[in-house]
Symmetry: C5
Subunit: 100 residues, 5 copies
């Protein structure tokens, strides 16, 4: 899953069937330290995320399984609102002795 921050909304009246009522949010992807990376994308939201929230986003074909009986043509969905992230810093420095 990717980490991202909700930075906006998208509205689309005319859309494919099965997407009515689905909230669409603009996401800024972040690395694990909170730095913005890559480009914005749009994710569906059913758990009530809002502007400024840091979220976990599932991309690709698994996205449609938020409703197993009703697969939707979506490729990104917010699956969690992040409470906290704890990352070890600097541990990769000594990686040269790993595979040799």
């Amino acid at each position: 899953m990717r980490i991202g921050r909700v930075i906006g909304n998208v509205w689309a009246t005319r859309k494919e069937e099965g997407l009515q009522g689905l909230k669409l949010l603009v996401i800024q992807p972040l690395d694990a330290y909170g730095n913005p990376i890559q480009t914005h994308f749009v994710a569906a939201d059913r758990i009530g995320a809002g502007i400024g929230d840091d979220v976990l986003v599932t991309s690709g074909g698994s996205s449609r399984f938020i409703d197993r009986n009703n697969p939707m043509p979506i490729d990104a969905v917010i699956i969690g609102i992040i409470d906290a992230t704890e990352v070890e810093r600097g541990e990769l420095n000594g990686s040269s002795d790993r595979n040799d």
Copy 2:
């Protein structure tokens, strides 16, 4: 989903079965501020998008679920025509000079 602008048409007479009659449009991907990013791709359209429209595009395996009983060998489909996008600027530390 990616944001994109419809910039062209593609015609292909000889194609895989199940794709007859499907409209194929050339898409220029955009970031949330409307700046062109990455490279063009081709998306199927069933909702009547036209040249110049800003659209939401679903990529990958979920694309075929625009018709659940008739999965098609497509990997990108327009799922909505964008009415409006509202994006918070500058909320990411140091990011204000990033997308302008």
Copy 3:
């Protein structure tokens, strides 16, 4: 779908079951103006594409749906031979007034 040009053939005698007889072509991805982009990949072909043809290629999980009753372990398939592409040039210049 990606636009590409057929630039070669690949032969593999020893392969996974279910792929016997499947033609495999080397594809050079192109942007909508015909410029080569990214790196070559290999796509399956069932519609008779040949060297020099410009084609539409479906990637990822949808590829296997060229035969719904017999999903194959392939991730790229030619779904159409392009007759013509018509792309608007320069229309993205005025995009700065889009989302603000």
Copy 4:
């Protein structure tokens, strides 16, 4: 599958149904020589990986098949904890100075 090192944890109380109790770990992707590449992502873990472990991660739609009867909306899952990696160096023409 990608090779990666577990570098952190993510906690999310509010999440999509079906994800309760699933452990979420921050992964730093590595090349086969142990050098960090690309950006962090978050993977689900059911086999007990911990901080510092080198792991194999499956991405995309196949991730949900860790429980075939209960597909989950996840796009990355740890499928193995690496015991050892053995890589031939220099066998690609001119590549010997590439990964060192």
Copy 5:
């Protein structure tokens, strides 16, 4: 499918169910001329590929269809050992007259 060369092995004793006995190989992706591109990844192998073999690799959700009745949580699988590749060189030079 991607072209790649087998450059190593990965061993993982502790892994997800359904992966027991599956051979895991480190792959260096190549372009159609045999030049190394991008970063290594790990692919499952059931057809007996060995170090130094050039192979075709299917990525993503289709990978699990090497055994249709037993979908596995893998995202890359060797589907063929390449006997020969024949690529036209230089044919893209005259592409500027293509879409205009």
